[in-house]
Each structure stands twice: as C-alpha cells, then as structure tokens.
C-alpha cells in the first residue's frame, strides 16, 4: 500500500478537493498542495515507525478536527474582491447555497401550514407561520433577484468583467450544476409567488420544480452508475 492510498490520505485529499472545488484557482491549488505535503510528511513519519494505520487514523482525525475552521476559511474567501463577478458568471454555486439555506424554512412553513387545521392557532403562544414564510420568501426573493442579475450580466458584460468560467469535470457535472440552479430558481419562484393573486405564477414554478427534481434524481442515479462502473479506478494501488 502506498502512502497516498491509505484511507487517511484519500480522505484528506477528497476533503481538500471538495472544499476548494469552486474557490479561486491559485488559492485552491496552494491549499491542496499544502495539505498534500502535510499528509505526506505525517504518513512518512508514521511509516518509519511501522505505525502507518495509526498515522492514517490520525490524519482522518486532523481533517475532522479542522473542518469547522476549513468551512470558515472557505466562507471568508467569498469576501475577496471580484468574487461577486465570478458568482454572476457561474450562478449555480450561489443559487445552490441559498437554496440549501431556504429549504429548512420552507419545509417548516409548509409543515406549520399543514398542522394548522389540527392545532389551531390559539393553542400556540406564537404564530410561527408568518415569520417562517417571511424568511422563505426573503431568501427566495434573493435567489430570483440573483438569477435575474446573472442573466442580465450575460447581456451587459460590464458586471462579469474578466471573471473566469467554472469548468466542470464532466458533462454529467455540468448538467447537474445547471439543473440544481434551475431547481433553486423554480422553488424560489414557487415560494415567492405563493399567495393571493400571484398564486398561479407560483403554480407554474412549482410544476417546473417537480419536473426538474425528477431530472435531478435521474442525473444522480446516472452519476452513481458511472462511479460504480469505474470502481476499478478507485481501488488502492499496491506497490510491489
């Protein structure tokens, strides 16, 4: 077994790659290279002591312990200059992040609405429905506004400037990213245009969301199938 094929090294490599997937390329490269060097040094020392398994477990523990700081560092990268231009050029990441933030409030608001006939309002001290829907629609509004800005930036290149285009690793990934962004916009639209006279517009968005969700699940199954078919590539290389 080589050092790079130990579970610890593979986990650390996977985490570094996932964390920096959509980060600025120079910063992403430096972080991945630094982690690779650190892991190599640690496992080399462990191998020298004939404690490679313990060293591998220690690497996993270090990755796990550092995850909160990693996420804070990654979030901090989004405050760098020109980052907004990059997101306008490649809207999928921002829309997906906002969608993930919106979903819990949306689900809670829907659950609260569904429970209302069973638990009338006067049974609770506070009506949670209003604030939950307010937050859902606020985040949904931000998603829709961002999507409009992103579309507009394709017409007026002034906002995008020299922001690089994100290159997916495969056509499947490109399709997934596009589909996820479209899912986010359609769910946001169905939440924002939900009440009153705007309800029918929300209904159209909800129909689009249902179709896109089916497509997303199909893409997910396809991705898993591709990974299973190419499993041989992920087996550890044995050094003789």
């Amino acid at each position: 077994m080589t050092l790079e094929s130990t579970p610890g090294a593979r986990f650390a490599t996977w985490w570094a790659r996932t964390l920096t997937r959509t980060a600025e390329s120079g910063i992403a490269y430096d972080r991945r290279a630094e982690i690779a060097s650190d892991v190599h040094e640690q496992l080399t020392q462990a191998w020298g002591r004939d404690e490679l398994s313990a060293g591998s477990r220690s690497v996993v523990a270090r990755v796990l312990r550092g995850m909160p700081a990693d996420l804070a560092w990654r979030a901090g990268l989004e405050l760098r200059p020109n980052r907004f231009s990059w997101h306008l050029r490649n809207p999928s990441t921002a829309i997906t992040t906002l969608l993930v933030a919106m979903i819990p409030f949306n689900v809670a608001a829907e659950a609260n609405a569904a429970a209302e006939p069973v638990a009338p309002r006067y049974w609770t001290l506070f009506d949670y429905g209003g604030p939950l829907w307010a937050v859902t629609q606020l985040v949904g509004g931000v998603i829709l506004l961002f999507a409009l800005l992103s579309l507009g930036s394709r017409v007026s290149r002034r906002w995008i400037g020299e922001a690089p285009r994100f290159e997916p690793q495969s056509r499947l990934e490109r399709a997934r990213r596009f589909n996820t962004a479209a899912l986010g916009v359609s769910l946001a639209g169905s939440a924002v245009f939900r009440f009153g006279a705007l309800g029918p517009i929300g209904g159209v968005f909800w129909f689009a969301f249902s179709v896109l969700l089916a497509v997303y699940l199909a893409l997910l199954v396809g991705t898993v199938a591709v990974k299973l078919l190419t499993l041989g590539r992920y087996l550890p290389k044995v050094r003789t």
Partner: protein, 114 residues
Amino acid sequence: MVYRKPGTLLPLEAEILGAVASRGTDGAHGFVIAQDLSGGAESSKSLVGHGTLYKALDRLRTRGLLSSEWEDSAAAEAAGRPRRRLYWITAAGAKVLTEARAASPSFRIGEAPA
C-alpha cells in the same frame, strides 16, 4: 469569528509564531509546526487539525507576521515527496512575539499563554 483587540495574538497564533521562530533561518513547514505545537515528535498530544493550522498560518501571513515560500520543485522531487511551503517569522512577527512573551513570561511552545 473570534473577537480580538487589534494587534493582539490568539493563543494558537502565539504558539505558531514561537514554533516558526525556533526554526530560525531554516524555515518551518506545516507538519513540523503542528508537531512543535503538540510538544514534539514523541509527544502523545494530538496534532492540531489541518483547517485550524492553515487558517491561522494564512492569517499570520496576511498580517505580515510570517513570510512563506514554496521550496524548489527539483529538491522536492529528488527527495521523493511533495513540495513544502516554508514559513519564516518576519521582523514584525518577532516584535509581536516578544511582546506576547513579555506579557506572559511562562509561555512556552506547546502551551497556551495564560
């Protein structure tokens, strides 16, 4: 986000500066710093997490307290390992470290200042 007065060091940052300073002109790379923080290669104390360490190194470098450079690729390739990123303490970093040690005389690498 940890609040701090401008110009002050977090305990981890002070330890990192101390560890890098102790390596002198040779410089120190991430794993060696992590080992020094845990009390050395023979220590049973857990090594600091990657995220925590490299975020702190990034902060110190941005503040001008550390400088860094990637080692020569040929040297790393000859040694059969990935390139190391080496860190050195700057004059500003040495000054801040001296002040931190003066503020907490019992401070040693591997222990957080009081």
